[in-house]
């Protein structure tokens, strides 16, 4: 499969790296020789220097026999033009574009229609807003992902020290919290190391536990795991940019008490004109007086989403020290990711990571319909439909020729969420949720799609 990527920035770089590891043919185009050299040194990809919006460069990159075309430069316009030309040159190629500006995304139907023929528009800001909203819906979770159109959730959670399940072996877990509830532990993160567990592993203190459950049973499960569930109501958003505005807009209802802090006069006016209930405040986020004045210590959640990640991090730390219950910070630079947890920030959202997730989701066509990365990029959870020609149908779960470190977490059969046992037989049209360590993805894909194993 040949994939052409325009833009070797953070998003392009990581997607290229991920796909190259999976043995895809990746060609990456960028204007900066420096960026290209960086990627050529770290991954097995072809690099072409030039403008991604130039048809000549696209031809050189082999657009004619490409399968997927990703336009992920920082400029919406270049992405659009690149997709436009890609469409002209090869109508069949799947075109994905990263587009942020509201003036384009409001007209999605035009872009995905005849003219540019973009297959899917990825808007990282929107994805970020969605992930913040998800985080708010499960207090205490570090990460929440949805499958089966939102019916199944993969939740990562920091267990409190007094949780009844600490010290429990996974095979005994269901007895402990009640057998009628469907829960599967997908992964444990212990000392920064991701473990895909078997029944013999034990949950220990300070583990981050990732589990899968039916969304209808989510609250019950969280309660029995001993996670305090005080709903989020008092929210402070810091930074009234694109994301901040969209977030405030989404929280613009009776339930939430939202404050939005922004330091530009003009922007504040703009925001207050468009928002009903949220209180728009003007001021600097690192100013303790404003934070105190607005009762920062009563906040259930402080969300720092300015464009400047250093400000976000520092603001969150400040808010935390002033008594805020939990903090969400927006970070762009992947280099900071490992720092976030140790210094005491609760959640990170990253537009680029979100963009990467949704792009990968789309690239894994065929049998796999959805994927999310968990714990940075160490593992992926995949959603798969067992089509009639799939080799896995009619097999017992324990007989599947899956590589090591892959786990079938659960599946959805009709409307029901089934937690599999070793002897559960897979039927047609089952939606399987599988977790896999990243390096096993190609093998897993192979096991799902081919009948004959060559090696």
């Amino acid at each position: 499969m040949r994939i052409i990527i325009i833009g070797a920035g953070e998003v392009g770089f990581h997607i290229a790296q991920r796909l190259a590891v999976e043995n895809k043919e990746v060609v990456i185009i960028d204007k900066s020789a420096e960026a290209l050299r960086k990627i050529a040194e770290s991954s097995d990809v072809q690099t072409i220097r030039g403008s991604g919006s130039s048809p000549e460069v696209l031809e050189e990159a082999g657009i004619m026999d490409a399968d997927i075309f990703l336009a992920v430069t920082d400029s919406d316009e270049i992405n659009l033009i690149a997709c436009f030309f890609a469409n002209m040159l090869n109508e069949k190629v799947t075109k994905l574009a990263r587009i942020r500006s509201g003036m384009y995304t409001n007209y999605k139907h035009l872009l995905t229609g005849e003219g540019a023929g973009i297959t899917k528009i990825i808007n990282p800001d929107e994805e970020v807003v969605n992930s913040v909203l998800r985080l708010m819906s499960v207090p205490g979770a570090v990460e929440i992902n949805e499958f089966a159109n939102g019916k199944i959730r993969l939740i990562g959670i920091n267990l409190p020290e007094d949780s009844p399940v600490v010290g429990v072996k996974l095979m005994e877990l269901r007895q402990k919290i009640g057998d009628e509830l469907g829960i599967v532990i997908a992964a444990l993160v212990r000392d920064g190391e991701l473990i895909i567990p078997s029944g013999l592993n034990t949950i220990q203190k300070d583990d981050v536990v990732y589990f899968v459950c039916d969304i209808r049973e989510q609250e019950e499960i969280l309660e029995r795991l001993g996670v305090p569930s005080k709903p989020v109501r008092e929210v402070m958003i810091i930074g009234g940019g694109n994301i901040g505005y969209k977030l405030a807009k989404a929280l613009d209802n009776k339930y939430y008490h939202t404050r939005l802090l922004e330091n530009r006069q003009k922007r504040c006016e703009f925001l207050s004109e468009r928002l009903d209930r949220p209180i728009v405040l003007m001021g600097d986020s690192t100013d303790q007086d404003i934070l105190r004045e607005e009762n920062i210590h009563d906040m259930d959640m402080v969300i720092a989403v300015t464009g400047d990640e250093e400000t976000n991090i520092l603001t969150c730390l400040l808010a935390k020290s002033l008594g805020a219950k939990s903090t969400v910070t927006r970070v762009n630079n992947f280099g900071y990711m490992p720092l976030i947890e140790p210094i005491g920030i609760d959640y990170v959202v990253c537009p680029r990571q979100s963009a990467i997730n949704s792009l990968l989701h789309f690239i894994r066509r065929g049998k796999i319909i959805s994927t999310v990365s968990i714990k940075g990029e160490a593992a992926e959870a995949l959603e798969v439909i067992a089509h009639e020609d799939s080799p896995i149908i009619g097999k017992k779960v324990m007989d599947l020729a899956f590589p090591k470190g892959c786990l079938v977490l659960c599946f959805q059969r009709g409307d029901e969420v089934v937690i599999p046992r070793g002897d559960t037989i897979i039927e047609q049209q089952d939606r399987l949720i599988i977790i896999s360590a990243r390096n096993n993805i190609p093998k897993l894909e192979k096991a799902l799609t081919t009948k004959v194993e060559f090696f």
Partner: protein, 485 residues
């Protein structure tokens, strides 16, 4: 630097080299010339040693993280020396040479496509061994590493580091998105040309064995022949011309051949390096033809053209076959051939020398400096065709040039120190570092390297690998900074 990991990969390379010994083994068994046993033994030793290294030094943790620059270079450089050592086994066990240095010299002269020989009577050597001798050329021409990249799946991740360290030229091309496919494509092109040449040579009356061995020598720009008098032994204008043309083909960037085969000939003729290479070859052939015809070396114009074009191609592409003793030609022709020895083939070809591309860059950069003296405020970048060449590439080329010349001179000093005369020392050193084969003086086209002292042979062996891996990859092992943690 993860030593375990480096040795682990080298083990795989050595085993790969061992596998290829099955080909001469087949010839040896076919002819029943008594080489089957030593070849089988060499093969077994090589594969077993390689496999042993591969399994003993296996480190599942290390394999997960990517290969660093340093490791890539260490693997390639040490891998080449290891291949050379094991490649010498058939000569040693087959009784071709008594001394170890001769075996290693001949083997690395093969792998590095130099073609300098320490064999005095080639025709007396059994065919199984001769086949191995030519095969080392063919393997080394496109590259042991490039071959391994094409067939060993697990090298994919760090492949680019290895590829860069082996492929000649300042900026290696990547034809396909994946390094494995690039390597595979290059080998396919290489095999295709080899098949065509073999068939053409057989039309000229060579038997299959000779045709194959000479093809190996040509396509790899090596120069080992199966005859004492090299290609001259066949005394056929047709064979001379076929070899001439294929030497020139082998001297051109294989990426261009690939584009040509994909039916994009324009790419080839627009390539600035190819143009310079073509023009240079034509001009040199014309000048030398006139000189030798006027000098009375040959009676007819057709003979002059035949011998000069062969010799220019052989020296410029650093193949080193001989059909004529150019030491008898007029002085100017020898001067031109000497210049050709420095230049070598194009980047990305199988030829040696400093590469046409580098010479072009140096000339262009020097001109740019002159231009700046006249227009001090001018902003001016060095370009190849329409592409701007980055400054770090140019400084890399200057560094290469200085090191190349410096090491060539240093090696010449050492060889002279062993009691060899000065012309021969410089010629031998140049012939080896440029991967040419024959030089002038005591190592001219009619002589060989057998009479040199052992120390000189060791130094020259080292020079051949230096030249083939283009200095940096090898010499880096001798920089103390490389070994620091």
């Amino acid at each position: 630097m993860r030593w375990q990991y480096v040795l682990h990969i080298i083990g795989a390379l050595v085993a790969c080299v061992g596998m290829t010994m099955v080909l001469p083994l087949a010839w040896g068994a076919y002819y029943g010339d008594g080489t089957a046993v030593p070849l089988a033994l060499s093969m077994a030793i090589t594969i077993l040693s390689g496999a042993l290294m591969f399994f003993v030094f296996r480190d599942p943790v290390a394999a997960k993280s990517a290969m660093t620059h340093r490791e890539g270079m260490a693997i390639v450089a040490l891998g080449w020396f290891a291949a050379g050592a094991f490649g010498g086994l058939p000569f040693y066990l087959g009784g071709t040479f008594e001394s170890v240095v001769d075996c290693v010299f001949e083997s690395l002269s093969g792998f590095s496509t130099t073609g300098s020989s320490v064999l005095t009577n080639i025709e007396a050597v059994p065919r199984g061994i001769l086949f191995w001798r030519s095969l080392t050329h063919w393997l080394g021409g496109m590259g042991i590493i490039v071959l391994s990249l094409a067939i060993l799946p697990f090298l994919g991740v760090g492949g680019m580091q290895l590829y860069k360290a082996e492929v000649p030229g300042p900026v290696p091309d990547k034809l396909k998105p994946r390094i494995k496919d690039t390597a595979m494509t290059l080998w396919k092109v290489y095999v295709l040309f080899s098949v065509i040449e073999t068939i053409l040579l057989m039309f000229g009356g060579m038997d299959f064995f000779d045709a194959l061995c000479h093809t190996f020598g040509t396509m790899a720009t090596g120069g080992f022949s199966t005859k004492n008098t090299s290609v001259a032994a066949f005394d056929s204008a047709y064979i001379d011309y076929v070899i001439t043309i294929f030497m020139l083909i082998a001297g051109v960037n294989f990426s261009l051949h690939y584009l040509l085969l994909k039916w994009r000939p324009a790419a080839m003729f627009k390539d600035p390096e190819f143009r310079v290479f073509g023009v240079m070859t034509a001009v040199f052939i014309i000048i030398i033809t006139i000189a030798v015809y006027a000098g009375g070396n040959y009676d007819s114009v057709s003979d002059s053209v035949r011998y000069t074009s062969f010799q220019v191609a052989a020296i410029l592409t650093t193949t080193g076959f001989a059909t004529a003793d150019y030491e008898l030609w007029p002085g100017i022709t020898q001067a031109i051939l000497l210049f050709c020895m420095f230049v070598g083939g194009c980047a990305g070809s199988t030829g040696g020398g400093m590469k046409v591309m580098r010479i072009m860059l140096l000339v262009k950069h020097s001109y740019k400096e002159l231009f700046r003296l006249i227009h001090p405020r001018s902003v001016n970048r060095v370009k190849m065709g329409k592409t701007v060449v980055q400054d770090d590439v140019i400084s890399g080329v200057w560094g290469f040039f200085i090191l190349w010349i410096g090491l060539f001179v240093l090696a010449a000093f050492v060889v002279a120190g062993t009691g060899v005369d000065v012309v021969t020392s410089f010629a031998a050193s140049l012939a080896c570092i440029g991967n040419i084969g024959p030089g002038i003086g005591g190592v001219g086209p009619t002589d060989n390297f057998a009479w040199l002292p052992d120390t000189a042979k060791w130094v020259l062996t080292f020079c051949m690998v230096l030249g083939r891996l283009e200095i940096y990859t090898v010499i880096i092992l001798f920089v103390p900074e490389f070994w620091r943690k």
